[in-house]
Amino acid sequence: MKKLILLSLSFFFVFTSYASAQIVGENYEIEQQLLASTKQLNQFFKRFNGEEDVKGRTFEPDDRQYRNERLRKKYLSILFDEEDTDISSQAKNDFIERVTQGDNPEFLNLHSKDWFAVVNTTFLYKGKEMPLLLYMKIQQEALGYEWVIADVAFDPYKTMFDKQRGETKVFLHPMSHELDFMNLRKALVKGGVPESYTLADYKPDFLTIFLYEVKMGILQFQTVNRMNYHFFGIDGWYFSLTNFNRANDNSGWLISDLLQVNTSQKEDLLKIIYEKK
């Protein structure tokens, strides 16, 4: 009888161990992927800077591993998208060497002015759902920091204030002052081209128009679709981050673009990102 009980117990033990091993085994693989994934921007910064261990635990500044060059090189090599982008291994290596350079290493900082977010949103505009880009920056305010809208890009605004120049444009003639500008009545009409009556270097401020239309309920926020982050803080380099939702280790917030840029290329790139002409 004792033998039977022992046998049953051993069988039960083996069986339950096997069953739990199955569950642990299934979860283990997924948990390793989740651990490897760069889960937050915060984690991207920490990995970039070498400020946390592989399990995401923060190093104290007096820890030997804190911002350790070898650790940073290891982390940096896994912070690049390896599937959808064509960043050359040469560029990748040059970048890693640059930011970990012994006497002049570069680190990222949440409060830096050299990075920003581009948030792709949907707004309801005159009854129609339309995409709108919000350019967000982080700034200091009172006791802490806040994200703020620095600019917008919205297709209807892009051509709305395109001003004609030259002989064919409409204008207020140069003796209008003698008539107490009575011709303004004909110039400023609904559906007209009031931008024609502005200074030659007139530039519309899309952000102010956006704020006005939100306040008036003309633009109604619907949702956020996706976002990217752009970094210009590493001298001579530009890189952007995209979130990759994948069932493997190369997932989360990863570098999706990397370019070596000089000052004029940087200006051109900013114009492209901000969708400015």
């Binding site: 949440l110 305010e141 949702t223």
Partner: protein, 194 residues
């Protein structure tokens, strides 16, 4: 209920231990205290996990589920929302916390199992303009639902949970004690590919 009160009291006592150094309302969070706050935040997130599992469980009686929803709602700052997206649609749909729980309870499955992966990530705490601190805890939840005709549905969602940390005051035995409290805020729920 007694359990709840005891738990809260132990949070307060635990955090008071880390509050001995400075009593200035705007003092920064020192690293030791930040660890204690992280633990408190994780406790609250775990509580939320337990509540979600009870609300989603089809064996939970309606009245009990409603009581648990009340408890779960108490973890959140007023006006908190869940922003939900799926692999099929990147568009974020927004629900008030209570509405999200009600939708979870009303899911058309015969059996529901909700588990949490043993992976979490806690961001640094950042100070807001009003002096409160804010952070984000990321956790992963596995959902399995079985319909009456034995159809299975499985997903894993990433939950990025806002935590607000602020200094509060309480009276214990006639003395005013200041302590750090953690309250949950908006949660971004996104379906993962794993």
């Amino acid at each position: 209920m007694n359990n709840q009160i005891f738990k809260r009291l132990s949070y307060v006592v635990a955090l008071m231990a880390f509050f001995a150094v400075s009593t200035q309302a705007q003092s920064p969070v020192d690293p030791n205290r930040e660890k204690a706050i992280d633990s408190l935040a994780l406790e609250k997130v775990k509580d939320l996990g337990k509540y979600i599992a009870i609300i989603g469980n089809k064996d939970t009686p309606f009245s009990e589920a409603n009581r648990v929803m009340d408890r779960a709602e108490e973890l959140f700052a007023p006006g908190s929302e869940m922003g939900v997206s799926s692999l099929a649609s990147e568009e974020i749909k927004y629900y008030k916390v209570r509405e999200y729980f009600q939708r979870l309870m009303a899911l058309n499955y015969d059996k529901v199992n909700i588990e949490w992966y043993d992976v979490q990530y806690i961001s640094d705490l950042e100070r807001q303009p009003d002096g409160r601190y804010v952070g984000v805890v990321t956790i992963y939840q596995k959902f399995e639902g079985t319909t009456a005709d034995k159809m299975n549905y499985k997903d894993t969602t990433k939950k990025d949970i806002t935590i607000y940390v602020e200094k509060k005051k309480t009276q214990i035995a006639g003395r005013t004690i200041e302590f750090w409290d953690v309250i949950l805020g908006d949660i971004r729920v996104s379906e993962t590919s794993v």
